[in-house]
Symmetry: C2
Subunit: 347 residues, 2 copies
DNA sequence: TGTTAGCACTCTTCTGAAGAGAGTGCTAAC
DNA sequence: GTTAGCACTCTCTTCAGAAGAGTGCTAACA
């Protein structure tokens, strides 16, 4: 994965081992880890006093912190980062998990309009966190077909299908009374005329048409542009129950999670940081771009076909989360979704 | 609204007034209501001792219950029911609220594909509960247009648009290698041939065609049938934060709410009970069809055009919720959605 | 010099007791 | 029929003490 902040400080072998154990223990239990617990639960080979000394050093160096004077230590954001970048090992989903996911996906393979939702739910389950998945967006949308359906004399429904297989439905006010027959004639003519064109290209050719045609074409360019505007990016999420079960988000804090997911606040915070094509990116605690995310760990990746189709997906969890599971899941899902996009778009 | 269980027992004027106050007070505060609180906070005109006597009678009659020997009383499900059916008064959203909602709706009026999601979020906000809204389903789906897009020699994407403006995208395995040109020819021919037909009607005409055409038509009938199958009904929900804030669903209980919303468990529990065309239906506590709903109040309505298009919408809250707000909101939203459907379909 | 045992100390969490607060049912008086 | 008074019950909060876990420091040890 991308290394956001290379860690320069050198830790001894033993310090690394201790830090690793503390992170793992804390992630598993959620409670501060003491020196005694460590010696009792793991075959460390040294006494608790030695561990204590090392822990003091690690705290000095900024990798651990004490929530209160006594009662064990927990990793700092920096500690997590060191763990993720140096100690964790390569995150790769077990082949069993991979097979299971592919198998599950096969069941919805034919219902293209449910891919994103399904991806979100699978990702949430394998990562054990809240997942978010954006509907893929193409760089430029091209007209494939549209239908005009008369609703009232001056009101019509426009159904727009793009080359990129996106669909949009819009209500359109008409500048003059128009019946279905006329709308159909107009649509037939304009469909062949504009097939395969982008919004920009359609705009250039607007001139020579009638008022009504011009107006419809305007709506179509508007619709096409909307399909690949960042602001209109739709996201689906899943797995809130996973994070609500965590003790750190039990009561009041639950609200902050929901607030993040609602209204795409999360998306707009994280999106600018993501560069397409990179591997999985990890934001831990204070490393996060937005204040509201300070108490979270975020693991994100882009998926799609280089430069043409892009989406993002990722998971959101407490800083104390299993980064290994999250990273491996996100990485795998990003690949899977990219493969699907490949099948769909690159012909 | 529909009166599920007409209440035969006769209460005196004063008992009704007291029950009404207790329900309102308990809904507002969430804490059991005592006789003293009542006399202090409302101008009841009698002493707390009298209230106590009346409360004892109401408890006897099954309208109130004591969570513990001392500490006030709370309404039973039956008490709520009596309140809702007899004491509450006509639930009608204030015209201010009505205007606000219509105004908000105007902003997404042209993005038809977002109506349902938006309706859910507005309903959640006005009712102050979790809302669910189903995507409207037409009784019978008729072909309007479809596109076949070649992905691989034996794999194509089918985009299906119905007269009823529903859209479905499906992957289709082809029985023989076929290129885009051939697919387009086939689509052109079949579109004009099947335009306006239902799944059944298309099926009847399958015979005389080529293998490939027959196969595509099969897929189309499958797709059309899927669009109005109950099992595939999609629902959107919104406002989980509203219910998670409630003390009764703070910790563990939150899970049960999420479980209900996930996987449409709620829908399948409530749907059989709903009869189209009726007004708002209210299920309080043990009145609910499913066990998992026992601790909830559910207010549901159908919307749509009589017999042709139907959807459901409603809210879910703790039994202790403001039924007045919920019922008035659900009723108004159902009307609003019905109006929108009217514009869309009845021409 | 690194490691370990021991110890005094700190801080959280659990437990139980005490007291305040709210509400009830009953009785007797109005 | 209504009300005041009273003893009683139950919850909730507070507080102190004990238990548990962990720490830093010191002195001894290999």
């Amino acid at each position: 994965m991308e290394i956001n902040q290379p860690e320069a400080v050198v830790l001894t072998e033993r310090q690394q081992a201790i830090l690793k154990l503390i992170v793992q223990e804390y992630v598993a239990t959620g409670r501060p880890v003491g020196s005694k617990t460590l010696t009792e639960r793991y075959p460390v080979g040294v006494s608790s006093a030695t561990i204590r000394n090392e822990m003091a050093d690690l705290e000095q160096a900024g990798f651990l912190q004490q929530p209160h004077t006594s009662g064990g230590r927990i990793p700092t954001d920096r500690g997590y980062r060191y763990y993720v970048h140096r100690l964790m090992g390569a995150p790769e989903l077990s082949s069993g998990d991979q097979i299971m996911i592919r198998h599950q996906f096969r069941q919805v393979e034919f219902q293209l309009d449910q891919w994103v939702e399904f991806a979100a739910s699978v990702l949430a389950e394998t990562a054990g966190n809240v997942s978010i998945v954006s509907v893929p967006r193409t760089l430029v949308a091209r007209m494939r077909h549209f239908e005009l359906i008369s609703l009232q004399p001056r009101l019509a429904l426009l159904i727009l299908v793009t080359q990129e297989t996106a669909v949009r439905q819009m209500m359109v006010h008409l500048p003059e009374d128009t019946d279905q027959a006329e709308l159909s004639r107009l649509a037939d003519a304009l469909v062949t005329e504009t097939r395969g064109l982008s919004a920009d290209e359609i705009e250039r050719q607007v001139d020579g048409s009638t008022d009504l045609a011009r107006y419809v074409l305007e709506q179509i360019t508007f619709g096409l542009r909307g399909l690949n505007s960042v602001e209109r990016t739709q996201i689906r999420h899943s797995g809130i129950e996973n994070i609500l079960g965590q003790p750190e988000f039990a009561g009041e804090e639950a609200q902050s999670v929901l607030d993040l997911l609602r209204g795409g606040a999360l998306l707009s915070a994280v999106l600018p940081q993501l560069s397409a094509g990179n591997d999985v990116q990890v934001f831990i605690g204070d490393e996060n771009p937005a204040d509201a995310l300070r108490r979270f760990g975020v693991v994100m990746a882009t998926y799609g076909i280089n430069g043409e189709v892009t989406g993002i997906l990722g998971v959101l969890g407490p800083t104390r989360m299993s980064y290994w599971r999250s990273i491996s899941s996100v990485r795998y899902m990003a690949r899977l979704m990219s493969d699907l996009m490949e099948d769909l778009y690159s012909s």
